[in-house]
């Protein structure tokens, strides 16, 4: 399946684009996606934290991703 991942802040700068399309096996988890992205973009591992959001909620590591989900990478937030 193909996943579209929205990128923000420093994650967007590391990857070099604001939306990333990746092909992933069916049943890919949030943790599995992070693992793959760390392999492709090693600089992501230097961040204080990196979360996956699915449909505007923080996803648990074992959350299964689906093609229709709105997926985003969430580097450390710094609002306020």
């Amino acid at each position: 399946m193909n996943l579209k991942i929205a990128l923000f802040g420093i994650a967007r700068e590391i990857v070099g684009q604001s939306v990333l399309e990746v092909s992933a096996p069916e049943g890919q988890s949030a943790q599995g996606l992070l693992h793959d992205l760390h392999a492709r973009y090693p600089a992501l591992a230097g961040l204080s934290s990196l979360a996956v959001a699915v449909n505007n909620e923080y996803a648990a590591a074992d959350t299964l991703l689906q093609e229709r989900d709105e997926i985003a990478l969430i580097p450390p937030v710094s609002g306020g």
């Binding site: 923000f8 420093i10 204080s48 505007n56 985003a72 450390p76 710094s78 609002g79």
Partner: protein, 139 residues
């Protein structure tokens, strides 16, 4: 009543305060976050806030709802956050809470701003004379 906004326009602070007025409120507590001229001793020229809008609005509302649940006497809550380019002294965020008595207005307001900083998908980049940094990105 809960009012949430994320805007690239200057925040109208008096209007934000008026928005939480209520006949049953004896207290209105406000937090106003402004842009400081230094960060860990380094002069700051400007800030840029980037937001994942749909999630930021959703999470802001959740934080305000949690506060209203935890302190059920809360009358009204308004949270407004800026995005885009801000300069020294600009208002970055306003949290206003009205309650019948003052004690709960203080704790609810502090809960909202503290939790906002932990969960809401907004990112701050600081610009200095000689570079820029995404705040909190690296250990």
């Amino acid at each position: 009543m809960i009012h949430i906004d994320l805007t690239d326009q200057p925040i109208d602070v008096p209007a934000a305060l008026r928005s939480v007025e209520a006949d049953g409120a004896g207290a209105i507590n406000t937090f106003i976050g402004t842009v400081r001229n230094k960060s860990t001793g380094r002069p700051v020229v400007r800030l840029e806030y980037e937001a994942y809008d749909s999630m930021a609005l959703h999470q802001l509302r959740k934080v305000a709802e949690q506060a209203a649940e935890q302190w059920p006497m809360v009358e009204n809550i308004t949270v407004i956050h800026r995005k885009g380019t801000l300069h020294i002294g600009d208002v970055a965020v306003v949290v206003a809470v009205s309650t019948p008595h003052r004690a709960e207005s203080f704790v609810a307001c502090q809960y909202i701003i503290d939790t906002l900083k932990q969960v809401v998908t907004i990112w701050k980049k600081e610009f200095y004379e000689d570079g820029d940094v995404w705040v909190a990105a690296h250990p």
